[in-house]
């Protein structure tokens, strides 16, 4: 396979296959990097990063809560882009990319919600409150939960894939709402603390920022590996189903 296509038309029509092959060749590296970076992150969280003065231990939940939420955004971004490309190109790989990203994104949304609740209890005194960010995240969880239920129980055909792509695109509209909700509405959920643009000296201290960045990289690598693995499984299942159908036809005609 030539690395660079001859024309834009060829570029777009071969992009799914190229992306898939690139993902497969990067899979072992991503896997090992994910394991290594996770070990480093947990060493940083448990032994290196200092305790926050006001919140104490519960603040350390930050290092898994924020990366889970970031991966949630990234995963549904993949669903959004792949769904648009599926509606345009109608090739099954784009549909597989979208549904696998939705599955792993749903997992990380669950983790963001669960870790947020376990952080909320000691700090806010409650697991849950109908705050703008929490509520919009819960809506996203339901949107993609519904998306996955339809995909799990409906017959896998082009009609369902088309419908799912539309839901995947519309559902993504909730992501900017979640992100900006803390600025648009007065909420219990804190506003951005990583970098405060108006105040150069504000934001997180260096040790906390390093730990957070390391955790963002590690959790993103875990997401990437899980997504690639699921894409590979779905593609293999599709190829096996095709082979089984061919074999069945051959056996029927031989009888």
């Amino acid at each position: 396979m030539r690395w660079w296509p001859r024309s834009w038309r060829q570029f777009w029509s071969t992009l799914d296959g190229r992306t898939y092959h690139m993902m497969l060749s990067a899979r072992p590296w991503i896997g090992w990097l994910a394991v290594g970076s996770m070990v480093i992150v947990f060493a940083l969280v448990f032994w290196w990063v200092p305790l926050e003065a006001i919140q104490g231990y519960p603040q350390k939940i930050f290092y898994i809560h924020v990366p889970s939420a970031w991966v949630m955004y990234a995963a549904f971004g993949v669903v959004f882009a792949s769904s648009i490309l599926y509606l345009w190109k109608r090739t099954s790989l784009w549909d597989i990319f979208a549904r696998c990203a939705a599955e792993v994104g749903f997992l990380f949304t669950t983790l963001a919600l669960a870790t947020g609740m376990l952080w909320g209890k000691p700090i806010w005194g409650t697991f849950w409150t109908w705050d703008a960010r929490l509520t919009s995240t819960l809506i996203l969880w339901f949107i993609y939960g519904g998306y996955m239920l339809v995909r799990a129980f409906a017959r896998p055909d082009a009609e369902v894939a088309r419908l799912a792509a539309v839901v995947g695109i519309i559902g993504f509209l909730d992501v900017p709402i979640i992100h900006l909700s803390v600025l648009w509405w007065r909420t219990l959920h804190p506003q951005p603390v990583v970098m405060i643009i108006d105040d150069p000296g504000g934001g997180l201290p260096a040790s906390m920022l390093i730990t957070l960045l390391a955790s963002l990289v590690a959790v993103s690598l875990v997401f990437a590996w899980l997504w690639i693995q699921r894409v590979w499984q779905e593609r293999t299942a599709e190829n096996l189903a095709l082979l089984e159908a061919l074999l069945e036809r051959r056996e029927r005609s031989a009888r």
Binding site: P58, I64, L107, L118, P122, L226, E244, L247, R250
Partner: protein, 53 residues
């Protein structure tokens, strides 16, 4: 401390649970591929036998 440890425990438990699910799917795919390979080789043998007779 309890909430902090609970959050990390939940994070790992959910992630490992999902990983187990992925691993089970992988196992099923391998079994399906092995079954298909057996069927393919049987059908090739039958076709050879048929062409000889």
């Amino acid at each position: 401390m309890t909430w902090y440890l609970s959050a990390y425990a939940v994070f790992w438990a959910v992630l490992f649970g999902y990983l187990m699910g992925v691993s089970n799917r992988q196992q099923k795919l391998v079994e399906r591929a092995e079954h298909l390979t057996r069927r393919l080789s049987e059908s090739a043998t039958d076709a050879k036998g048929g062409s000889r007779s």
